[in-house]
Symmetry: C2
Subunit: 78 residues, 2 copies
Amino acid sequence: MTYKESILDPQGEAVKTALHRLDYQTVEKVTVGKYFELNIADRGQNIDEEVDQMCDQLLANVNMESYRYEIESTTTEG
Amino acid sequence: MTYKESILDPQGEAVKTALHRLDYQTVEKVTVGKYFELNIADRGQNIDEEVDQMCDQLLANVNMESYRYEIESTTTEG
């Protein structure tokens, strides 16, 4: 989850400045965002739709933030 | 960047509770973390090493947080 392009990202700018001060001059741009990792039980639901709804309803501030997600399937025994 | 397994993640617990309240009962675990996207100029340096150093020196609190990263190469014209 990161700020949309049109929204200023002062935290990213601050991190970039700090990295330059540590002599990492190769860093051209820094974007800071949030990261959520969810373990979701597969009960035959439409996972993509469910994750989209969760992002829109709770996780993302859809006015200011954009999000993307990846679904990975895992297997647990028992 | 997420908290290490041994460190409590109250924010993740709070998000899980909120999702359950919105009737997303399939959510079993939530981990909340930080996300950094860096554009780095390729000047022939060892990118992996550079990113490792940046994480250790500035981005991650190595006592409490674990990190992982992916390098993607992009091409810009001009």
